[in-house]
Structure formats: structure tokens, C-alpha cells
Symmetry: C2
Subunit: 107 residues, 2 copies
Amino acid sequence: MKLEKTFGDTVKKLREDKNLPLREVAEALNIDTSMLGKIEKNSRKPTKQIIEKFAKFFKVSSKDLTIAFLSDTVAYQVMEEEDFSSEVFKVAEEKVEYLKTKKSPEK
Amino acid sequence: MKLEKTFGDTVKKLREDKNLPLREVAEALNIDTSMLGKIEKNSRKPTKQIIEKFAKFFKVSSKDLTIAFLSDTVAYQVMEEEDFSSEVFKVAEEKVEYLKTKKSPEK
DNA sequence: TACTTTTGGACTGAAGTAGTCCAAAATGAA
DNA sequence: TTCATTTTGGACTACTTCAGTCCAAAAGTA
């Protein structure tokens, strides 16, 4: 699975590589055709369930697809707010580390 | 300015280091006391304007405060979704890079 | 021309959330 | 214990955001 610039581009590529129309994929995933079109255009976000369906249908790793999706949303979020993106991500990663150790049973 | 585990902890520390009650800081920032309490407890998010007011009042860098805040929100967002956090941040940073070059006038 | 796909506008219902108000709980001083 | 102040959080409102739907126009194809 190739990582495109956005989640929408990624799933669009998966679909076009198989020469399938939106309608057909949408039916397979059991979602509205227009909804799928919007997801490909990044104007609607997929739910976790839809990401799972994508992964199954296109036979790609759902972890990779989830990374593609989450990285999109956090990238846009940080972009909106001026710069400092790499600092934000660096600190965020430390916080995740900290939160993880807090969650798992200590010792 | 010390970076605490969360944005709330960070501003709480700034306040307690000066031995000020919530009421007093809230008045200075012109927000509800309860609102400030909630921000310190991370149950409400500060607006950009409030972050600016914090920075001014406590005489700390608004950039640092913004990083403290943004890293909080993206950390929680990624935490909620299983693991892969570092991969997500890595990809997100690449996307930000790409988006930045797209925004600024090419060539 | 006729058919299919793609795109996007407009809307709805639901979910989320900033901000307010108030009162109970905690803290602390006398 | 009492009194005053601070801290905490519940409940509510108003507002915004957004997934999901429906539909129709535009674009593409034969």
C-alpha cells in the first residue's frame, strides 16, 4: 500500500488501481457513494469502522490505513496553528509515552 | 517555564508558584473562575486568546504555551486510537512539510 | 444522444464543547 | 468549631461541528 499525501488520495489510489467506480466500492463498504467521494476528497472523515472496511476490501493493513488517517488529522490540526510542528510532535510523543506508562499497571 | 505532563498542570504550576488563587488569575484573564479551574483540570480547552492571556500574565513565551497545548491535544487524540503513536507523528511531520511547501509560493 | 460516474451544494440530526451558574467539598485561619 | 475563601464539579445552554443523506449538475464515455 502506497502512502499518498492525504488519506483521501490513498484510498482513491487503491480504488483506481483496481479500476472500480465509486459506486461499486461504496456498495461493498455499504456506505453512500457520495460519502465515499467526499472521503476521497478529504471533506468527510471516515469512522474507524469504515477504515476497517477499506482495509478488508482492499486487503491492506488496517494499521497502515489508520496511520494514514490519524497523521492526516494531526497534521492539519498543527498546520492551522502557525508553525512549531516538529516541536509539537516531539513533545506529544513524550506525553504519549508518559500516558502509556500511567495507564498500564505500574510495577 | 516548566513543561508539565499536561497543559492544565503547566498553567496550574505557573499559578501556584505565584501563590495566587484561581479567582485572582481568572479576573486578570477576564474569564470565569470555574472555567480556569476546568482548564487546569484539562476538562476544558483554552482558546488561542486565552493562551495569549496566560502568556502575558505569567510572562512566559506564548509559543511554548501553544506547544504545551497542541501537544496535549494531539497526544490524547492518538492515544485513544490504539498505539502506533510514533509512526503517526513521523508521517504527520512529513505531511506538514509537504503541505507547507504547497502553501508557500512555489519556485 | 444516452448512460454512468464524479462532484458538490444543501440540509438534517446528532455529538461535542465553550462558557455560565451554582452549590457542595476542601482548605485554612482564628 | 466556626467563618471565610478556594477548589471542584454537576447541570445546563447556546453554539458549533460534522457524519451522513439526497439530489442534481457536471464531466466522462461509448
